[in-house]
Symmetry: C2
Subunit: 438 residues, 2 copies
């Protein structure tokens, strides 16, 4: 059985096969939904008592007092200091690069602005950080310290005063890299809770866990469902689906490199998607051979094989232009332009979470330390959403100061429209300001 | 019975009374939820046929063919031309000012940016407009042409190629101001559909209604529930609650002006909230007297009275500083600083959808024509969300181009962190790029 689907845009059944490869149902499970709603309601009404019960039940962590759920700053620092120097320095170097990028982002699009128009009216937007945010960090099989950096650093750069991390510690087992990352990233408080109960605690607050204004970070189906339910009560980031990579290749990158990039997506989980689009059949063959050769050398071979067989595809296109057009239909989370002249194709690519240009830009460099965020829109949501960033930890307030003179001009316009909508108090509030300013 | 609650921060029961005034349950009704889910599933599977059936049932609009749901551009233009010149010019003047403000917003924070660091690595973000958006416009009792401008113009300024408006026309009755506003604002296509079925049509697409990437605009409980359900499939803007105003007064604004501003919020609906905070008891009395005198002159007296009695309050504070602190707890949608020196207080105000500075800046001027958007976060969500704007109709893609030299520096960092996370393919993808660039 071949490792991946092989498609050709010139085949009569291409559209049907392409649709099958892309198909992913994000439908939530009714049983999960109901379980989550019960947990949310229970934590909301009973607070810490419910939180302790669910933590004992789901994470096998039995504590008498909710205060014991908190990890002290000293414990986070100790975890960092317990690491070897190579890991310590790698964490710090990655954090520094991520911080620098997000500081540029703050400068580029996170600043207050205003102007006065010719009649003296001041208009603008005041940009302020959120007061307090919650960062959900998965425990167990997908405990990623890099995600701590990618969520906490933009919040810190935005100026959030209180960054609260939650991370489940099943059976009491703590991941020292996650704790160390929290130290490096400037997390203010941390609690060993997870699942829907952690989302509830952050959204509603308990005696021990402070209520936050926004919750970000990835999680399993329970966490995703809980975040969707509390949306409105608090802000949330996107609801993440399986991770994806789409590689556009012109045949100039060593096939082993592209093979490993496809693997690095597939190793996340069985539902992850890896697609390679290229006009050159021989190159697709070469990558396929490289994959067959390299796959047995990888510890996560079984996950990779399941992912590639289920959702992977090598797709031969008529041209690079057609490959770009297909990529826009997919709107992939990660998009590698593994080409000799990536800037030729980049302008054609409209929808993607992150665009990696050139053979040296492996997705994994972006995942860890290039600087941009690795929390990206999945499952085609790059059509309408964006990487996590500083702006997700800020909010804007419009500023309006109408001068006395301008009120004379604006008043009749507003009154006309307000009367047209049947809102007479609106109209008269505008009219009361007439003739007073001159 | 007095028109509004009267509170004093020095009273022993202030906190309890303040909490009761602020209380609003955004909980959704289970019956509505289930009805909405059935409609969404039906329109998703049966498309136009279901859309026609629901439109006949809920809007009493019986059509044989889905094509008859579309309003032509000629019909929108004709509606505009049918208006009297005062209304035509008011719509155009408001649109021009709203457009100008959002163009400034595009310049200030909606631009692509990138930089190269010292090792030649390119980092940045590419900002692109959404391809197609849907704008929900309520019909019936709350049909607001100004909302058409406020939703469509930012989309147009962002460069969205296809702006699709939906507006229910109960019994076939079209609101000429709404159609005219669609013409002025540059709406590309319009359909006479509403409710959860319109949200479903926009989210999933039917043979007649194109699938969009994001849905914005206010609606009733069915529309809000439907938007929340399709979130993820498409983008949505915020879920709006009742409208609110909070006025901070130092006693320098004519009491009639403030009274009318409080009315202009209350006239929206019975759940709207109007709050006045002031350290001066005599001024609160003067405003209360002005309200008693002015209220009987307003056609929407009954709605205003119900709103003020249920959710309105005059609150005497110890100081302006305390009033600002209370305002931050409310995080109001509309915040008027009706003071002689509004810029003294503005820096203290951290959470608000829009801040109106000075006595001449009535909220109603901002609602219609000052320029900033009138779609604002409600119910305290200004703690974490922002006015609708150009950025809501754009998305960002990270750009990363790691130079060969930089890959030698970043590779070991990424590999160390990836091995720490048990993601060996990630590590090896980074390592494959080592030694090749030098």
């Amino acid at each position: 059985m071949s490792l991946m689907h092989r498609l050709n845009t010139q085949d009569a059944d291409f559209e049907a096969r392409f649709a099958r490869v892309l198909h992913w149902s994000g439908e939530t499970d009714d049983a999960i939904e109901q379980g989550v709603q019960a947990i949310l309601a229970d934590v909301r009404s009973r607070g810490d008592a419910a939180l302790l019960e669910y933590t004992a039940r789901w994470d096998r962590l039995h504590l008498d007092h909710a205060a014991a759920l908190e990890l002290s700053s000293a414990e986070l620092r100790a975890a960092f200091e317990s690491l070897g120097s190579v890991q310590r320095e790698a964490l710090q170097a990655a954090a520094a690069r991520v911080r620098r990028y997000h500081e540029r982002q703050l400068q580029a699009c996170g600043q207050s602005w205003s102007y006065r128009d010719e009649d003296g009216t001041l208009l603008g937007q005041k940009v302020t950080p959120l007061d307090r945010v919650g960062i959900y960090v998965p425990g167990g099989k997908a405990a990623y310290p890099s995600s701590v950096l990618m969520n906490a650093i933009p919040a810190q750069v935005a100026g959030v005063g209180d960054i609260v991390m939650v991370v489940p510690t099943p059976g009491g087992e703590k991941n020292p890299l996650v704790l160390a990352a929290a130290h490096v990233a400037g997390v203010h408080r941390a609690f060993t809770i997870g699942g829907a109960q952690a989302v509830a605690a952050l959204a509603y607050g308990t005696a021990t866990v402070p209520r936050v204004d926004k919750i970000t970070g990835p999680g399993n189906a329970y966490v995703a469902s809980a975040k969707k339910h509390v949306f409105g009560q608090v802000g949330i980031d996107m609801i993440a689906g399986p991770s994806e990579i789409l590689v556009l290749a012109d045949g100039s990158t060593p096939p082993d490199w592209v093979a490993m990039d496809l693997f690095s997506q597939a190793e996340h989980d069985e539902l992850a998607q890896s697609l390679l689009l290229c006009p050159d059949a021989a190159y697709l063959d070469a990558v396929a051979q490289a994959m067959e050769r390299l796959l047995p050398t990888l510890p996560r071979e079984a996950v990779i094989r399941a992912s590639l067989q289920g959702r992977g595809a090598l797709i031969q296109t008529r041209s690079m232009e057609e490959a770009c057009a297909l990529s826009n239909r997919v709107a992939p989370e990660h998009l590698e332009i593994s080409c000799a002249d990536p800037h030729r194709w980049e302008p054609l690519l409209r929808h993607a979470g992150a665009i990696f240009l050139g053979a040296f830009t492996s997705e994994s460099l972006g995942d860890y330390c290039a600087g941009p965020n690795h929390v990206l829109p999945t499952s085609g949501t790059a059509r309408f959403s964006s990487p996590l960033g500083v702006m997700d930890f800020q909010k804007r307030s419009s500023l309006i100061e109408v001068s006395a003179a301008a009120a004379q001009v604006l008043g009749p316009i507003a009154a006309t429209l307000a009367y047209g909508e049947g809102l007479q108090a609106h109209a008269r509030a505008a009219e009361l300001r007439l003739c007073h300013g001159s």
